[in-house]
């Protein structure tokens, strides 16, 4: 069904060269412009930093102005017009972009930087070898899902099988020399935990706002924020002005609901004073508020970064099952 062609590494590189620079994860798992030659070597699953860094980076300048002028001249930071290729995109990260589109491309407040990147970067997916924190199977897709990338590449001897994911991808593939038609490889199921009992209903989660379960879960979270700052679907930011030698720069900087200062108001009042209220926010936002507000969307793609990076070995899906168990036990007791 899906269009698929076999391409050689050499022909692929040539076509990439005609499009623009390559962006890929470096050896520390950060998304960078690739400086080497040939194709970048990347791991077998998503890198440490989420793909969103290329589209909405952790710190981005909005504008700058010179200090000490009576009429400061604002110099806005204009969106990049550079075209390029993103190499090594994993299905979970690509799906996360699909969700971020709801936030950053929704009129009337379209984020022009994000939009420019979305328009100008071609997503070349790479089929993964899942690790034990990968959970894409929970969301009914798997490690070689082509739907949210432009092309999904499967490494084979002396090249790749390229499965078309979008019209943009099809056009790019037409520009690759000597591409021969092939039948597309079968899609693999994504991994999911054996103990999984299904997502709690978004509305039931919302009703459990005052439940004791949040306090029970609190001991296992120190609100370090790693789970959110590295999550591909999290999008919160703050705006700050920072002083440089002769100028001031206004920046948009990544932020996290797991930190106490996130909700602290001028004057000191804070509606989320407890550890449990912050971990509840993370879970409710992803698994209740988003599905309730945006049809069929969910604020998680199962990438598993939050599990891998949590120093307290917390697993958000185990939490969801525990919450679900407690809610349904109570419902069946009629309390």
């Amino acid at each position: 069904m899906a269009d698929c062609k076999k391409v050689t590494e050499k022909a692929l590189l040539e076509a990439i060269g005609n499009t623009g620079p390559i962006f890929a994860p470096d050896s520390d798992g950060h998304w960078e412009k690739f400086q080497g030659s040939g194709l970048p070597r990347v791991g077998t699953v998503r890198p440490k930093r989420p793909l969103r860094d290329l589209f909405t980076p952790p710190a981005r300048e909005i504008a700058r102005w010179k200090k000490h002028l009576s009429q400061p001249q604002l110099e806005p930071n204009l969106p990049s017009t550079e075209h390029g290729i993103v190499w090594g995109v994993r299905p979970c990260d690509a799906r996360a972009l699909k969700w971020l589109d709801e936030i950053f491309l929704a009129p009337p407040h379209v984020d022009v930087h994000y939009k420019a990147r979305r328009d100008n970067l071609l997503l070349l997916g790479l089929a993964c070898e899942p690790n034990d924190t990968c959970n894409c199977g929970l969301f009914d897709y798997g490690p070689d899902d082509p739907t949210e990338v432009d092309l999904m590449l499967h490494p084979v001897d002396d090249g790749f099988l390229a499965v078309v994911g979008s019209e943009k991808g099809r056009q790019f593939l037409e520009g690759v020399a000597d591409a021969a038609d092939e039948s597309a490889p079968a899609l693999r199921d994504g991994p999911k935990p054996t103990w999984w009992t299904g997502f709690p209903e978004p509305a039931a989660l919302m009703d459990a706002f005052e439940h004791k379960v949040w306090d029970e879960l609190q001991a296992g979270c120190m609100n370090c924020g790693a789970c959110t700052l590295y999550c591909p679907t999290c999008q919160c930011f703050t705006i700050v002005d920072e002083a440089y030698k002769n100028e001031v720069r206004r920046l948009r900087v990544i932020d996290t609901c797991q930190h106490e200062a996130f909700t602290r108001m001028a004057g000191g009042h804070n509606p989320r004073t407890k550890f449990s209220s912050r971990l509840r926010q993370r879970i409710l936002h992803k698994f209740s508020y988003i599905p309730e507000r945006y049809d069929d969307k969910i604020g998680c793609t199962g990438c598993g970064r939050c599990i891998e990076l949590c120093a307290l070995r917390r697993n958000v899906f185990a939490d969801l099952n525990e919450i679900k168990r407690q809610i349904s036990e109570e419902a069946s007791c009629g309390t």
Binding site: D28, P193, A219, M222, C224, Y230, T238, A311
Partner: protein
């Protein structure tokens, strides 16, 4: 060990010595060792203690918890708890120390004895209302703290400045190291103050240096070398080396070792009208 621990905890609930207990369990679903808070004797059977219990639970004790709170404590955890009590985070009666004979915990990535345990000189918690396991079997350190910092201390100031600048370069200001630390107990962290803004929000060499120097100075004479800051860092930054260098200075210059002696205050936190240093307004040094 696990049985003795569970029996003791059950007894603590039954004799109403505790209202809740912070401990470790193997998560029934994921199999990972995670912190847990239990509220009754029936739940005691999930508690465990072994070399995978790396987290410092003294961080999880909050003043507004329904006390007394039992806490399973390794040596480093107990020293941190001792500091928190000394600093009036909560009264001594708020906690019941369940000291476990610690043989060291592992680095979860490699399964080797973690660095902090190789140099740990106090494996039993100084806060010990009950003791679990054989205190005499805890073993001795195989390394000294000096072995980890001598190389840095031997550098000249310029080399050292470069070394720290490079060490802190990947910092993203996520503050996971702060959240993990039991002694990052300020009501409002200086990173969260913006009038004036001491530490700028975005990562860059100047703000990285500012954050890490302030962080380390705030831990002078307070850090217990539990290593949790470094373990929590998603970028794998070895920022705790600076705490170690300062701890070495503090012991050398002031003879002070954090959290060992009950109620012993670190000199920087004390005000004494008879302080011999004149700048505090005390008598001139004679």
């Amino acid at each position: 060990m696990n049985q003795a621990l569970r029996d003791e905890v059950r007894k603590l609930f039954e004799t109403e010595k505790v209202k809740s207990v912070l401990g470790y369990r193997q998560h029934p679903l994921t199999g990972e060792v995670t912190p847990v808070i239990i509220k009754s004797a029936d739940e005691a059977d999930q508690l465990i203690f072994d070399k995978r219990c790396v987290y410092n639970l003294s961080r999880a004790v909050l003043a507004d918890m329904d006390g007394p709170v039992g806490v399973v404590l390794k040596g480093c955890d107990g020293r941190a708890l001792n500091m928190r009590i000394t600093e009036n985070d909560f009264p001594r009666e708020h906690v019941v120390g369940i000291a476990v004979a610690c043989q060291g915990v592992v680095d979860t990535a490699t399964d080797d004895l973690s660095e902090r345990c190789q140099r740990c000189h106090m494996r039993m918690s100084p806060i010990a209302d009950v003791t679990i396991g054989d205190e005499s079997a805890v073993g001795k350190p195989t390394k000294t703290r000096a072995e980890f910092v001598d190389e840095i201390r031997a550098m000249n100031p310029k080399q050292r400045a470069t070394f720290w600048k490079d060490t802190f370069a990947p910092c993203t200001h996520c503050y996971a190291c702060r959240q993990a630390c039991p002694l990052c107990n300020c009501k409002v962290c200086i990173t969260d103050k913006n009038n004036p803004q001491w530490i700028e929000t975005s990562p860059k060499p100047s703000s990285n240096m500012m954050w890490h120097l302030i962080r380390a100075f705030h831990h002078a004479g307070r850090c217990v070398d539990c290593g949790e800051c470094e373990r929590a860092c998603p970028e794998g930054i070895k920022m705790h080396l600076l705490d170690l260098c300062i701890a070495e200075d503090v012991e050398e210059m002031f003879g002070f070792v954090t959290g060992v002696e009950d109620g012993a205050q670190w000199q920087f936190l004390l005000y004494d009208p008879n302080d011999p240093d004149s700048w505090l307004g005390g008598p001139e040094r004679g």
